[in-house]
Symmetry: C2
Subunit: 359 residues, 2 copies
């Protein structure tokens, strides 16, 4: 048995993978695959519409929020957000909770005025800063946060309370639809699909429509949210395979019972690993306890040589992708929605046994 703990692109629900495989060359008895169909065909339109409706339903989205399927990942959103929303003379507030936040800040700084109002760089990004201490700007174009940080394994458990006039913008690439939250408190949410929603190459954007109207005339059409809202995500040819997979993954989420049910399993997965890590000093979690992520559990061993052995033995035992990000080292178990509790329990068993042999 192989368990895939890759940080993204990551494992997808096995039943989704199997269905995609079975109909890969012949979708709906059409005699060709979904990837060989026009993005303007009735068959594909039904798939795109299903993906959108599933997302609306799972997130209980308000009608004034558009659901877009774009390309370019979160990295393109780092630029599109300020190009569209940070109009001349305004300032945007950013919170720097990890290297992905930093990249978003760097891109925005090329486009307009940016203020970093809180962060955690000095302390290795091991904690989400307490929003009670943030000095918010009532006149900010928006406040940008990163809900989950894959490299340090931290995640917001409480949303900042901010002035009504300031839209909250969130990069949810690594935890979207992993828990039951109020999606309507955000002005714009974006997420590369490759952790919880599907394969890489498709980006889901949820945007309150009136925000899109801010876009300056100088922004290229393809980089305007208004273009894709009007074009219903087929202004140009989208990743049809990506959208198809999002439709199937969100179908699966509904079959699981929705986000509440998914969150309960994710909570169990997180607890299974952290209970073991916290039991003694053999393993050490790197994220502050109050900021620990349900998606990425980052941990170390006291001895770096033993970490190499852990990684080699865990890989040999069928646990893939446990190596920590190259910038921080150590170990990381990425336990997105598709990772079953069984896989986490098996990993915990392996870790317990490894400790017994090496502790």
């Amino acid at each position: 048995m192989t368990y895939n703990f890759n940080p993204g692109p990551a494992m997808l629900p096995p039943e989704v993978m199997q269905q995609a495989q079975s109909e890969f060359c012949d979708y709906n008895d059409l005699g060709c695959g979904i990837v060989e169909l026009s993005h303007r065909s009735g068959e594909f339109d039904a798939v795109r519409e299903r993906a959108e409706q599933n997302i609306r339903e799972l997130a209980s989205l308000a009608d004034n929020t558009a659901v877009l399927f774009l390309q370019g990942g979160a990295s393109l959103q780092f630029a599109m957000v300020p190009m569209n929303l940070l109009t001349s003379g305004a300032t945007a507030d950013y919170v720097d909770t990890g290297p992905w936040s930093s990249k978003a800040i760097k891109e925005a700084g090329l486009i307009g005025h940016v203020r970093v109002i809180a962060g955690g760089k000095e302390t290795g990004y091991t904690a989400i800063p307490d929003s009670a201490a943030w000095e918010l700007d009532d006149a900010a174009a928006y406040l940008h946060i990163t809900s989950n940080n894959t490299i340090a394994g931290t995640q917001y458990s409480v949303w900042p309370s901010i002035p009504d006039a300031v839209p909250l913008i969130c990069d949810m690439s690594s935890d979207i639809f992993s828990r039951d939250i109020d999606f309507n408190r955000f002005g714009l949410i974006y997420a590369g699909a490759q952790k919880n929603l599907g394969p890489s190459g498709v980006t889901v954007v949820l945007i309150r429509k009136e925000l899109a109207d801010r876009v300056p005339d100088s922004v290229p059409g393809i980089l305007r949210y208004t273009t894709h809202i009007e074009g219903k995500s087929v202004y140009n040819t989208p990743s049809t395979f990506g959208i198809y997979m999002v439709a199937m993954v969100t179908d699966w989420m509904k079959r699981q019972g929705g986000l509440g049910a998914i969150e309960r399993i994710n909570d169990q997965k997180k607890k299974t690993l952290y209970d073991l890590i916290d039991a003694d000093d053999f393993y050490r979690g790197t994220a502050d306890p109050g900021s620990r992520s349900k998606m990425n559990v980052c941990f170390r061993l006291a001895d770096e040589e033993l970490e190499k052995i852990f990684l080699a033995e865990s890989a040999a035992a069928g646990f893939m992708g446990l190596k920590g990000h190259r910038s921080v080292g150590g170990m990381r178990a990425s336990i997105y929605n598709a990772m079953p509790l069984d896989g986490v329990v098996s990993l915990a068993d392996f870790m317990r046994e490894f400790r017994r042999r090496n502790g």
Copy 2:
């Protein structure tokens, strides 16, 4: 038997589709699919490298040309080309041979000074304008052309001769690798993959490296060619499925004997349809004979009611996607590389029989 004449996303080589299906859930005995692997894994890196080397080999690319796998399709390139290459104060020359050229011109006009030096809008884009008559600007930042025009079914058969100092930039989305040409005469070539190279969601860019250095400091990092040259197309997470499919399709092209062999088959396919269309007045080709595309054969019937019957009967007989673009009507047979000669011969048989019954 179904034959898929969709204009793109389009049919892919059946043996590529079958191989992708067989290994969809278990790539190289890893216990997971290629879409579930990290874009930084050794396995995926080998795939990306293979796709690049195949492209270098098929196109006999010079070493100073980079091969990039981006996202966003040709539509994002319409913006990226001028953002990177049309520096302040310079002018770019464009040739308007169809709606896709027009979109490229519109985007570039938002970014800098653009001159449309030739076109065919007045005559319904039915011909490629003779480049001998173009008034070229020796100091232009670049000259932009669209090699094949899917909607009118036209294609350049002769490349314009232009001043050495002016880089020739070409949107080859709908005919890349369909014929044996000198790819090194171009400064930059871009192509959405979904006609000849793979599924939608991946864009191939071939760029002479020194051109990339022109980019102004104000351009967001994700939209700079330099970023992706340095990052070897994994600066951010690319469409791993798209790149994998490009690797497999270019493997297939090599097995066909390369671009010369592919072009000979494409010539036969084109001749098979046009010989029939030109045989009498029942069918009428809409592109000027000297500008006819090897990729998209656009034709009409004298009677519009009969066109509806043709489309219904051809669809019922298993010929998919023959409806012309909604902006021009009529019929269009898209015969990209993956369409076998058999499929075109079968369509010609159907057309001959339809003429016999209705002529």
